[in-house]
């Protein structure tokens, strides 16, 4: 039901394309990222990490490093006798007056290890004769999920597809690496930190360092990507603070690219052996899947399976497998890209058993439509816009080595909000400051905070001063789960509406009316229906007097929603003589409730799609089986798309203002890889059931297909 806080029915700004407030600062270099922070007398920190995937620390000798030139602090992060569980596990650290001297000193720290047995892949860890590497077992079997009578389900099936599907481990590859600058004043800590959770980082610093949270001030004004891997100080942040305390000087500790790959999270692998049944007229009947995956050393690897489609009978078991590699962290829609791929490739194989169109087949097996489950509509809209009617059956009949195909996939996500607080000041000179302890992790939060306030006050975006990214500001949650917009925007709206009401109370007497008769639009405050009877914003604010309007507010029900759906179409061409896959077109259809800034919302979709092209075609964290070392911990051999690899991408956002604000950061990255893999299958007739689609794998699949098919 509409109330005074409800989103405006005819917004002036919301839903339009507005350029980022901080765009000019970013492109001119005025924007200061954590990496750019320099403090007087600042030292540089460097960590020493385990070169071995599993070992016991026999001794740590810091003496040479302590005596090295320029060194101000040295510490051991682990005790002698402790075990390191992966290559890159932190062991010790130094701080010195220059980065070079810190590096030199780090090299002088002598750590002796006793190598212990390790696993570099799930096969080694799952082997029946595997040594006990992890306390409590090398694997953890999850509970069995079961719905309906599976035997009866398979009995109804006219066709059964049985195969193993898999996705691989990729790392977050944030352009700005993890790290911070820590500075102490007595027992008070200030930390400039590259984080998705500025307030929660303060809390974590306090807990780890044993100081009151009130003594910690964290700041994050700009950051170069987190994707789920930056929710706290981590070991490097705590080590940085400890070094700064020891050295009695500010310390900057930013990780290098190798450390990023090894120790700042990754997307777990996922493998499933699946049997699934389908009736002759294309109804799913049963799904039986045993899945496993690895999130590294002692971390989980869960994901939804089957994904989206309605299998009336289903059974699923999952096993977490531990290997000696850095632990997984949330990565852009955790679990969903994996579950989506494993299900969606199977869906195309099932459709082919009865030669049914993949779109029609999917639509036939969807759960009931709902505002957060709009797939049927999106499949239809997308098929029309994409030219799906031109799609050939599996295997491009065109002669010659270049085969082209189309694929489709669907996805879902949450994106609900809660709990943000905000503060708005309106000064007598007309100035407005909006404060919220949320953060802009590159998504455009700073801009949309300003837009919601500007919309409420009937002013241009330039009239609003936005303050975010600081732990001293009103509480807001970490930016994960696509919750930022849905949490912060309602808080900004509520607080701005309350501030405007307070202003109306000051202005109403001068206009000879009651406050409830006033509106703020187009830079003026006036009597509703009589624009002439009013004041400019500036003149109205002169009535505020010396004490500014100062209002606190918080997130309220009804202004945000939860649950989104999306469908993506991909077109790819495959050179069957070289194995090279080129994605030529992507269409992404996505809803996100009320669109705040169309431009930054689309930008999230573009970014998500490109990240998923990387997942599909390029990225792969490769560990050597014998040594457990990552062989490609850089950006030459760990592949990310270049400009030439990015196709035409069309975004169709479905604005659903009645649902309130819902986050969009994650969902657009879920189904792209599956759609691409299905397009490759449609092009070549060969089914590749695992990612990435590297040329060697494509060629191998084609050779296998020639030798008698993959089914």
């Amino acid at each position: 039901m509409a109330n005074k806080y409800s989103w405006p029915e005819k917004p002036a700004l919301l839903g339009t394309s507005v350029k980022r407030l901080d765009g000019p600062d970013k492109v001119t270099g005025r924007a200061k990222y954590t990496y750019d922070i320099n403090r007087p007398g600042m030292l540089y920190g460097k960590m020493v990490r385990s070169p071995l995937p599993h070992a016991r620390v026999v001794s740590i000798d810091l003496s040479a490093a302590e005596k090295a030139p320029g060194v101000k602090a040295v510490l051991a992060h682990v005790a002698v006798g402790a075990q390191v569980m992966y290559q890159g596990d932190p062991v010790a650290a130094v701080a010195a007056d220059t980065e070079e001297r810190a590096l030199d000193a780090a090299r002088m720290i002598r750590v002796r290890y006793e190598a212990l047995p390790h696993f570099a892949n799930v096969e080694q860890a799952m082997a029946t004769d595997a040594p006990a590497v992890f306390p409590g077992g090398n694997t953890r079997q999850g509970a069995t999920e079961e719905t309906g009578d599976l035997v009866a389900g398979f009995a109804k099936a006219a066709h059964i597809v049985e195969a193993t599907y898999a996705t691989h481990v990729i790392t977050h590859v944030c352009l700005e690496t993890h790290g911070c600058v820590c500075e102490w004043d007595g027992d008070k800590l200030t930390a400039w930190i590259s984080t998705q959770a500025v307030i929660q980082s303060a809390q974590q610093f306090a807990q780890a360092l044993g100081i009151p949270q009130a003594n910690v001030h964290t700041i994050m004004q700009y950051m170069g990507g987190g994707f789920g891997s930056k929710f706290g100080p981590d070991s490097q942040g705590i080590i940085c603070a400890k070094l700064a305390k020891l050295a009695k000087a500010p310390v900057k500790l930013m990780l290098d690219r190798k450390e990023e790959h090894l120790d700042t999270g990754n997307r777990p692998s996922a493998t499933a052996h699946i049997r699934a049944g389908i009736t002759a007229d294309g109804m799913l009947t049963a799904f039986d899947g045993q899945s496993w995956g690895t999130g590294g050393a002692g971390a989980t690897s869960g994901f939804p399976l089957p994904y989206i489609y309605n299998f009336p009978t289903r059974k699923r078991t999952h096993k977490d497998v531990y290997i000696n590699a850095g632990q997984q962290r949330a990565m852009r829609a955790p679990g969903h890209p994996q579950g989506c791929f494993l299900t969606e490739i199977l869906m195309d194989e099932l459709a082919d058993t009865i030669k049914m169109d993949p779109v029609a087949f999917r639509v036939k097996n969807l759960p009931p439509a709902a505002p957060n489950a709009m797939w049927a509509e999106y499949f239809a809209r997308g098929a029309k816009a994409f030219g799906w009617d031109k799609r050939h059956a599996t295997g491009d009949p065109t002669p010659g080595p270049i085969k082209t195909g189309m694929g489709v996939s669907a996805h879902r996500w949450g994106g609900a909000g809660q709990g943000s607080q905000a503060h708005v000041d309106i000064m007598s000179d007309g100035g407005i400051v909006v404060k919220c302890g949320t953060q802009d992790i590159g998504t455009g939060t700073r801009t949309i905070v300003g837009m919601v306030a500007a919309e409420t006050f009937g002013l241009p975006l330039s009239a609003i001063k936005v303050e975010i990214g600081d732990s001293l500001l009103p509480f807001s949650g970490g930016s994960g789960g696509s919750t930022t917009a849905a949490s912060a925007m309602p808080a900004i709206r509520v607080t701005s509406v309350d501030a405007l009401e307070a202003l109306f109370a000051k202005v109403a007497p001068a206009l000879g009316t009651a406050p409830e008769n006033l509106v703020a639009e187009g830079g003026r405050i006036f009597i509703k229906g009589t624009p002439a009877k009013g004041l400019s914003w500036k003149d109205a604010c002169k009535l505020i007097g010396t004490e500014p309007i100062s209002v606190n507010g918080k997130w309220a029900q009804g202004l945000s929603g939860s649950g989104t759906s999306g469908v993506q179409f991909a077109e790819a061409s495959v050179d069957i003589e070289t194995g090279i896959v080129r994605v030529t077109r992507i269409l992404a259809i996505q809803d996100c409730g009320l669109i705040v800034d169309k431009l930054t919302a689309e930008s999230q979709a573009y970014g998500g799609v490109i990240a998923a092209i990387n997942f599909a075609l390029f990225e792969d964290r490769i560990l050597d089986r014998v040594t457990g070392q990552m062989v490609n911990p850089n950006m030459e051999m760990y592949l990310l798309a270049g400009m030439s690899d990015v196709p035409k991408i069309d975004i169709m956002l479905n604005n659903m203002p009645e649902r309130g604000v819902i986050g969009i950061g994650e969902p657009p990255t879920v189904s792209t890889a599956s759609a691409i893999a299905n397009a490759v299958r449609n092009a070549t007739g060969a089914t590749i059931r695992s990612l990435p689609l590297h040329p060697h794998k494509v060629l191998a699949a084609l050779e296998q297909e020639k030798a008698g098919g993959t089914n």
Binding site: E100, I402, E577, M637
Partner: protein, 337 residues
Amino acid sequence: MAVIRDVMPVFELYQPASIDDAIKLLDKHGADALVLAGGLDSMDWLKDRLKKPKAVVDLGQIKELKGIKETNGGLEIGAMTPLSEIVRHPVVREKFSLLMEAAELVASPQIRNQGTLGGNVSQDTRCWYYRGGWTCYRAGGNICYADTPTSVNREHAIFDADRCVAVNPSDTAPALVALDASMVIRGPKGERIVPAEDYWIGPGIDITRMNVLAPNEILTAIRIPPTMAGAQFYFEKVRDRQVWDFALVNVASAIVVSGEKIVKARMVVNAVAATPRRLKNVETLIIGKARNEETADMAGKLAVEGAETLRHNAYKVPLMRNLVKRAIRGAGATWTS
């Protein structure tokens, strides 16, 4: 001379202004010196601290190493000439466009502006075990990490491996062999000319070097004779991404056709062995034959005879076979007719 101190190890930097001075410096420092051309690869070695030379000899100030000269229907290209200059050069484009195509597919525009032809042909292998700092044969150790039953070796050799299975990653190298180029090398004893084909050496000859340059020698120029000027050229590079990446396999061919028959041919494949692999048997096979699918098929099959694959690189066999076929088919080979 200046002392550089960055995250790189400390070294003395020399910037000689003449080839003679450069040779003297190299002769003096021997194996302790690193020759710096465009610096694109050298800087990585230094920053990774995998090479710790006492002296770095920067060839960037030597004017006589730069530029392209016309010589009796051919070209002499200074070793320090940037790849982008080669791509732009009118004679390269007109008569030796094979080299233009190869040079243009190297890395990225920035790298082609800074990277030199001499550096591109003399560069070290990209083997990720070797580059990761593992003390393998090539790095002076006594093991090959890339050649075990479980190694990750998708990018490694299918020919002529000898303990080390690394490959030559250069794009311009096979083009130069196909153009019958020769390499001008200067050392303390003067100049020597080496046919491009003999410039690169495999691990059987020296497992720590990729080419014949002694520590006190530098490559000063590359001479391209008129032999293959204006021939029908074909260059193709297959790589994961359409920018930056080194070749998984590349092919360079120069074919002269008279009437319907091939009368002259030079065909070279790289990234399949430690040296660019000239396919003399294929050349012999196709002489006198028409440039058609039948010849292409035969050539492709012959080209990969004797290939020995590792755990993850079997795909290089069909890939190389197909690239050789395409080279015979010629321009437009990629696309359906």
